[in-house]
């Protein structure tokens, strides 16, 4: 038994020196360590259990809920303020008012004019409520009939002229007169005039737009919103252009590189090297100019283009690595050269180091990184789009408010002339409507004024106020979205790394494997009669 042990020992010694040790020391083979595995497994599990991505989502959901609560509170406060204002107009108490004016209708005009001033700024003096009346209704009615109306108008004009009508120059100047030669022609002139009036309504669209142009270019609240809207639209335009320009630059350079590679796919010759250098230099310039993650607003489009270019390159090479090397596939094979080129494109290696191409796992980590960057930049671009949408809505709301205030103003003016008699001089609207001494027309005009003012606040002012807060919330929200995408990307990359570490901890040669192997070798040697 003793001799047997010695022989076994010798066998192990020889075997270890000749076979096992070189493997262990240079080929990545190592002895399994239970204690190490315990730590690496536990790290991976702890990290997974932490589930940062889910927590981040919960944090954002909570923020969304809080934002909703805030909007609700704004809505309720606006509603309370509006109702307070309306009740103040209705109320007859106190009678001794100085500021705002004492009489209900004056108080309403005071409020309406004050608000119009805020909205239109320095164009208030040239603001004529009548110009703004019912344009939307007209536009709505007309929009579906414009073409038909114009065709009918053309037909009537031909008919009129065929019968000798000569008075028509334009709809604006055309009048039906007794100068027409026959009654029939006069009837045709009348039909033509009617159609003209119909078409004039159509010009309300242009007219309203002109009116809007005046106030959005003034210095009131509407103009301020329009200025912000124009700035955001300009930014979006710049982003789109910088993205398409960068897309073109990078794709052109890639075409040059592909052409150079076609001539000699198996080596990085001078021509290929020069093409890689150009592409690398272009990408580095973009990364540098854009602050890499597009921290400058003006550079988001270019950053996105560069990231997407890198992602496409990475995806192509990673996908190709799982495909068979033969079979006439058209994708770029994952050769050392192609991996090196992609490595340079994504910044994993320098152009001077193409002899050490990155591995597919390294490229996979890089893809996860670029994916995270893309989502961050996309979140910033989405925020710009969202801001544009909110500002557009805010401008529309304020213009809508202005139109309703114009109705209120016009109706107030119609009512005021009849509200000064001794028997009809109400302090509050509560006195006006039950007062039989106030005419029906006056009461109707006052009712319209009050209702339009109420509606202008509810559907215009309140909506615009909500948009104000939505913009503030959206600024925070953009930061949170970027933080979320960063967290997702970083968690993905760290998970990949910890998985690798855990796999290493689980690996290695286990004692039972060595034991079985050595035992088998020992038996074989003995059986062969070495000693």
């Amino acid at each position: 038994m003793k001799n047997f042990d010695w022989r076994i020992g010798h066998v192990i010694a020889v075997f270890s020196v000749v076979v096992i040790m070189p493997l262990l020391s240079s080929c990545g083979v190592y002895l399994h360590d239970d204690n190490l595995q315990k730590h690496t497994d536990s790290s991976l599990n702890t990290y997974k259990n932490a589930d940062i991505v889910a927590t981040m989502k919960s944090a954002l959901d909570a923020q969304k809920q809080l934002d909703k609560t805030e909007l609700q509170s704004i809505l309720e406060k606006e509603t309370a303020d509006r109702e307070r204002a309306i009740k103040d107009l209705i109320s007859t108490y106190p009678e001794t008012r100085t500021e705002p004016p004492k009489r209900a209708i004056d108080r309403l005009i005071y409020r309406v004019d004050g608000r119009i001033k805020q909205l239109v700024g320095n164009t208030f003096d040239t603001f004529h409520p009548k110009d703004w009346l019912n344009n939307h209704e007209k536009i709505f009615d007309i929009s579906s009939t414009t073409d038909a109306l114009q065709r009918e108008m053309d037909r009537l004009l031909i008919d009129y002229r065929a019968d000798g009508g000569k008075n028509f120059r334009s709809c604006e100047s055309f009048q039906v007169t007794d100068n027409e030669s026959t009654d029939e022609l006069k009837n045709k002139a009348q039909s033509l005039k009617d159609k003209c009036d119909g078409l004039e309504l159509n010009s309300s669209v242009t007219k309203l737009q002109k009116l809007k142009d005046i106030v959005i270019n003034a210095n009131g609240e509407i103009a301020n919103v329009n200025k912000q809207l124009a700035e955001v639209e300009k930014k979006i335009k710049v982003q789109n252009k910088s993205k398409s320009d960068t897309d073109k630059t990078l794709n052109d350079l890639k075409k040059v590189l592909e052409a150079a590679k076609t001539k000699d796919p198996n080596s990085i010759n001078t021509e290929v090297n020069a093409a890689i250098k150009n592409l690398d230099s272009a990408i580095k310039n973009i990364d540098e100019a854009t602050g890499f993650v597009g921290t400058k607003d003006s550079s988001l489009g270019a950053t996105l283009a560069a990231i997407q270019f890198k992602k496409t390159s990475l995806r192509d090479i990673i996908a190709a690595s799982s495909l068979p090397t033969t079979g006439g596939t058209t994708v770029t094979p994952a050769t050392d050269i192609n991996r090196a080129i992609v490595g340079v494109i994504v910044g994993l290696i320098e152009v001077s180091n193409t002899s050490n191409p990155p591995s597919i796992p390294e490229l996979s980590v890089s893809l996860a990184f670029q994916d995270g960057l893309e989502k961050q930049v996309q979140a910033m671009l989405d925020a710009l789009d969202e801001k544009r949408r909110i500002l557009q809505d805010q401008q529309d709301s304020l213009l809508h408010e202005l139109e309703l205030l114009a109705v209120a103003s016009d109706a107030s003016q119609a009512a005021i002339s009849n509200l000064k008699s001794v028997s009809c001089n109400p302090i509050g609207f509560a006195d006006l409507f039950p007062n039989a001494n106030c005419s029906s027309a006056t009461r109707m005009a006052a009712a319209r004024a009050l209702s339009s003012y109420n509606l202008s606040w509810a559907s215009g002012r309140t909506a615009a106020r909500l948009d104000d807060y939505k913009i503030t919330q959206q600024i925070i929200w953009q930061k949170l979205r970027v933080a979320q995408e960063t967290a997702v990307a970083r968690t993905n990359i760290q998970t990949i790394a910890l998985n690798e570490v855990a796999a290493f901890g689980q690996g290695g040669i286990k004692p039972e494997t060595i034991a079985a192997f050595l035992q088998a070798i020992g038996v074989a040697v003995i059986a062969g009669g070495v000693y």
Binding site: D5, W6, I8, G9, I12, A13, S16, V17, M21, L24, S25, Y30, L31, D33, N35, L36, H39, T40, S43, T46, Y47, A50, I52, T55, A59, A62, Q63, Q65, L66, D67, T69, E70, S73, I74, E76, K77, A80, D81, E83, R84, K87, I90, S91, A430, I476, A487, R490, Q494, A497, E500, V501, F504, G505, P511, I514, A515, A516, L518, Q519, V523
Partner: protein
């Protein structure tokens, strides 16, 4: 068998010592540990910043709601005034006043929460801390003594396994 163990341990020490598993991942563990630690710090900062934003927003909501309540109270009061000023009899006067009083008293008995429930989320940054610490420990590698102990233990286990296999072989042999 002791000699066998002796041989195995010596040879292992000589050839495998530089290649112990824990030592091989020390560099990677350092990188990962540092990154996780930085991530942990960033998340902690983010958590504090988010809490500040949400506290501010909560305060704004609470303030606005209390201003809303003041205005709403005046509105309600005016409504009551109108009702009683148009009242036809004593009951019509008393009824709105009674309701107004009851509403107010109910509010006193069950005050409406003036603070919005907290929405702040706690990130599991302690778990990240634990991962970072483990990685940091792994990055330091093992002491020579620990390596020695691991190898001795490994040899002992191998030896036991061989012995078990031999015993099994003997048992199976005719």
């Amino acid at each position: 068998m002791k000699r066998f163990l002796h041989y195995f341990i010596i040879i292992t020490l000589v050839f495998i010592f530089p290649g112990c598993a824990a030592d091989r991942i020390s560099s990677s563990a350092k990188t990962i540990g540092n990154d996780v630690a930085t991530y942990q710090a960033s998340l902690s900062l983010f958590q504090d910043e988010l809490k500040r934003i949400q506290d501010d927003e909560n305060a704004r909501i609470v303030g606005r709601n209390s201003r809303r309540d003041i205005v709403a109270d005046v509105n309600g009061s005016m409504q009551v005034e109108w009702m009683i000023s148009n009242a036809k009899n004593a009951t019509d006067i008393f009824s709105p006043l009674q309701n107004q009083g009851q509403d107010e008293v109910s509010r006193l008995l069950a005050p409406v929460a003036s603070v919005i429930p907290s929405t702040s989320i706690t990130f599991p940054i302690d778990k990240l801390g634990s991962v970072a610490k483990t990685m940091d420990n792994l990055s330091k590698g093992q002491s020579n003594q620990a390596n020695m102990e691991f190898l001795v233990n490994y040899g002992i286990i191998v030896n036991k396994q061989i012995k078990a296999l031999e015993d099994q072989a003997k048992k199976n042999s005719p």
